[in-house]
Symmetry: C2
Subunit: 635 residues, 2 copies
């Protein structure tokens, strides 16, 4: 489109990393950060710069391995239950005491009977019984730790036992993060429309620190190539890696690639990774430079994929690895051939299986990473995965914790958020994880064994009955329980003061009202359809019927932003945004589950919570909720 836009290519991740390393080497970037000698206590977390050979043995003397008496083994020959031997020549020893000169074995105190000054022994002992030989743990001159080893508490303790007082380790690499962009504002300010808070620098610096690096963030730099270049060059003076945030693509104000090319070497511009595609890898003044995209998920993953291995190499250590698990994929997952696709997934243990449910895939949806239990990488060569396929997932949360997670898939309601929060406060091991796919999607997920609970409020237009007809249709009559969560008010969420004077559903068809709808399969959409059809109205008459949001809060947000004039949703969502609310219906919201799982320990904390008056009070205080039937099993 613009003649001066550099082309963003699709270099495979491994090739990009290789090209970056080569460019760094070619331009004189040091292969390792310097070695420094530090006291053992400060060496934890650092990487050994040279092997650690033992200077002393440990134990440094033959020591008693038990509390008891030191004896000469030869003196105990013949001792037995029926023929005890009375020893007068022995020494009382405690565990760890040096074995006194002249003795060569220890008898445990439990096996010694004191008779005046003598000791009676009822079993012969072999020489060196319960003696810890000199060097049993560490022999002087042996290799204790290789170079390139990240030191843990046990390592430094062993090194100290082997005579080390200081260790030669790699100093912490220094990462300087340079935020760029005219629209970027520091955290703590109140951004005007169109402005964005600098959350990426906060995150990237924290990611660097998590890897054991020192990290510094420069002031925000405007979209001015000269200033970016100057800041970059200053940063290289103190940094082992400079991360330029945003401007890595090929938009009008994207200068990173050009600045890096001008100031040093541009090795890669664009990688075959999604999210993350417009990545810049290069070197300036013998310092590696990473240009990270501004989308937060891209920025986070780019750091993981490219910066983390480079920083590990600078320390001479193996990169940290995430543990993995296999999981059953909850639904079909399409992926671009030619791009590694880093898909964030929620994990839950349902019926013995670990189930992976993909989260929203947009590069801008940071909460997809916040909520993720794992990362599923669909490699460039694959078109995706089928539903039910066993896939390999990198874990972001422990499998034990995942096993104690109640997976709720279905309709969204704030009460589930409140419950999740209350459960976790009671017991940090209990997680209630909700995925919002609408009521219908929840019932299907329950049928397919993808969740423990389906939150549902689906109105059957034929019977006017909620949820149960769908339960029969989708799940059959067997092994299904339905527990009432709440009754709640649904209504039209409108701007404060209701400027368009909307009084009910019929106003949506009058023209001049921009509606924002929920997605197909959402109970709230079914409610709208029902209310429209009751009034003989056609969805085509509703302006914005095809505009879909996935939660009540997103609908309210759209109204609050003035992008829509009305949307159907719950009172709590309207209140959260300070909006007005025109009631339409009071409806039950139920939890559907397998009856056979009702008594599972996993769910017990939830049932206890629903019975708790304080919880019910908290829910009703949200407004628009009634807990009169909360916790009642209605089927």
């Amino acid at each position: 489109m613009a003649a001066d836009s550099p082309f963003v290519s699709d270099v495979p991740a491994a090739a990009a990393l290789d090209a970056w390393r080569e460019a760094c080497a070619a331009t004189g970037c040091p292969p390792r950060v310097d070695a420094v000698r530090v006291p053992v206590a400060e060496a934890v977390g650092r990487v050994t710069a040279e092997p650690v050979w033992a200077r002393r043995s440990s134990p440094a003397f033959d020591a008693s391995g038990m509390d008891g008496i030191a004896v000469r083994a030869a003196d105990t020959v013949g001792a037995a239950e029926t023929t005890p031997v009375l020893l007068r020549d022995f020494a009382v020893v405690d565990t760890g005491d040096p074995l006194p000169e002249g003795y060569d074995a220890v008898v445990m105190r439990e096996h010694v009977h004191r008779v005046g000054e003598a000791a009676e022994v009822r079993a012969a002992v072999p020489p060196y019984q319960h003696v810890r030989s000199i060097g049993e743990d560490i022999a002087a001159a042996e290799l204790l730790l290789p170079a390139g080893h990240r030191l843990r508490p046990v390592d430094v303790a062993a090194a100290a036992a082997a005579g080390a007082v200081e260790l030669s380790v790699r100093r912490a690499p220094v990462v300087v993060v340079v935020p760029t962009g005219d629209e970027i504002r520091p955290i703590g300010t109140d951004p005007a429309p169109g402005e964005i808070l600098d959350t990426n620098s906060l995150m990237l610096a924290a990611q660097a620190r998590e890897l054991g690096c020192e990290a510094r963030v420069t002031p925000i730099v405007a979209d001015d190539p000269a200033v970016i270049m100057q800041t970059l060059q200053e940063a290289t003076a103190e940094a082992d890696l400079v991360v330029l945030v945003a401007g890595s693509s090929a938009g009008r104000d994207d200068y990173t690639a050009r600045v890096v090319a001008k100031a040093g070497t541009l090795a890669v511009h664009g990688v075959a990774v999604r999210p993350g595609h417009p990545v810049v890898l290069g070197a300036v003044e013998a310092t590696p430079v990473l240009g990270a995209p501004g989308y937060p998920v891209s920025a986070a993953l780019t750091f993981d994929i490219f910066a983390a291995p480079l920083l590990a190499a600078l320390e001479g250590a193996a990169p940290r690895e995430r543990p993995t698990t296999t999981a059953r994929l909850a639904r079909k997952l399409a992926s671009n051939v030619g791009m590694d696709d880093w898909v964030r997934v929620r994990l839950g243990r349902v019926g013995g299986d670990v189930v992976a449910t993909p989260l929203p895939r947009g590069a801008g949806v940071l909460t997809s990473l916040v909520r993720a239990d794992g990362l599923l990488v669909v490699p460039a060569g694959l078109e995706g995965h089928h539903a039910g396929e066993q896939v390999r997932v990198e874990l972001l949360r422990g499998l034990g914790e995942i096993g104690r997670t109640i997976v709720a898939i279905g309709s969204h309601d704030l009460v589930l958020d409140v419950a999740a929060s209350a459960l976790r406060t009671d017991d940090p091991l209990v997680t209630l994880a909700g995925s919002n796919v609408g009521s219908l999607g929840g019932l299907v997920a329950l049928r397919d064994g993808l969740c423990h609970l389906a939150g549902s409020h689906l109105l059957d237009p034929a019977t006017g009955e909620y949820t149960l007809p769908y339960v029969d249709k989708i799940l059959g009559a067997e092994d299904v329980a339905v527990v009432r969560l709440v009754h709640r008010d649904q209504g039209l969420i409108v701007a404060p003061g209701n400027p368009l004077g909307i009084s009910g559903i019929e106003d949506l068809a009058r023209g001049g009202v921009r509606y924002v709808n929920r997605q197909r399969g959402a109970g709230t959409r079914a409610l709208l359809d029902h209310e429209l059809s009751r009034r003989g109205l056609d969805p085509a008459q509703v302006d914005g019927y095809s505009r879909e949001e996935h939660t009540h809060l997103a609908v309210a947000a759209a109204v609050a932003a003035g992008r829509a004039d009305a949307g159907l949703g719950i009172l709590a969502a309207a209140r959260a945004f300070g909006l007005d609310f025109v009631p339409v219906a009071r409806e039950p919201y139920d939890l559907v589950l397998r009856a056979s799982t009702l008594d599972e320990p996993l769910l017990a904390p939830l049932w206890e919570l629903l019975a708790r008056p304080a919880f019910r009070d908290e829910v009703e205080a949200l407004g628009g909720y009634s807990c009169a039937e909360t916790g009642r099993r209605i089927r």
Copy 2:
């Protein structure tokens, strides 16, 4: 034995933890550390004290999701390859720009052809294409993070995007470590015989810091109950957990249990965990107290098993979990019924299987924890495991790294240490892990698929030939390769100046010479047997023939300590301890492996190393080695 010794019981770990928690609650220990408000940037690693609800939406406005032009979707109706539409009303936008008023979709710049001031579009676009809706990532008022969540970089970034400037988190728990013992000396001092360096405090404080705690170590306290009590009481004033190190058993100088009982509440004395048995759990002045055993492995594991969950609970967070794997057990493992047995294992991927080889099990062998890739817990109810059984192992090292580990089991030689160190320095991802079980044990391990390489120097007394006859016998003729590592001198390691005037093997039988032998199956022992039999000498004539050590260095250490007068071993071991050496034989030391694995990428770095002149020079500089045939395949 002593009347005043308290009894050390065997409380199962879970019951002990429960009893400790109850005692803490009953004596007024706070269930959680205080909540504090900290800036988001300082909140990483801390645990949320309350849920984080979004205060603003992100994005806070409808934004362009792509670089391109903002259009009205309605204007593009009918556009197609053959019927392009020329738009005059549009706005150029970059990714992240607010969608300009009046437009409702974005066309990617790659799909736009500029024609003068106009833009040609060749496909119709639906409304809201490439538009990021307000709240797409975060909707104001939604639950972003629950209480009890340990904050990661993505979490604080999302919280900041949602309007948080500060977060309410639990402050870091404070752990005070109190080292006790008359024989304990600070690190950095030169301990006299019988004295022990205070490596436990170093380790325990580092373990606490690794969990995100603040940790402080008091000066070393003598074995005086009054002083211990005073130090303990002072420590409780500032600590959320006090760890008293050593003195937790029932020896003469073990005061921990009595002091805790006197100053507060003693909940548990002795747990059914090995190593770790003599553990003290209690509370003093509303502060939990852990009495950790002095054996370093016991101390480390005790902290893991008891302190870590308590500290996580104080933060209101789920305890950290180690990932696990299943592995094939290399050999039979017996275990005490009634005790959870925490067995340290080495792991290697051999022929597709993860193989777990138990390491030495003594509570004093800290290197068993240093060298461990995993922990295998044999629960109290089990007598152990059979060889070849699939067992569950908690991982201490990533499976990826484990997969790049060359597992060498067999005879010990320093050249393997030197090689391990050199390989790791070249590439931090390559590990050469040796287990010393003697030459014969190595060949058996190779046969059983437990290792990649068996280091061997087994002399066949019948033929005078090394290794090959045993290879035939144990491994058969098929699929075996033998690569020469080195020739090395074996000789008698004797005290400096050779005070007993030992000139050869025959002197071992002359009386007055205390010998230290190697274990059965060790090539060096076979060499001794061969040399004795050549001279018509009987092993019974050798004083100390039955005293076994497992490595050359341990033999040298025994001689250096004056516990033995002579032992057969390599020159390098004698040199390491500044000892004299009486040559006996020059022998080949070979690496035996499956021929089919010779070309595996895993082993390539080793073959490259053996061919490197600098490596050969380094080995020969150790003394007593010849590299003339290093790397040559002799079968």
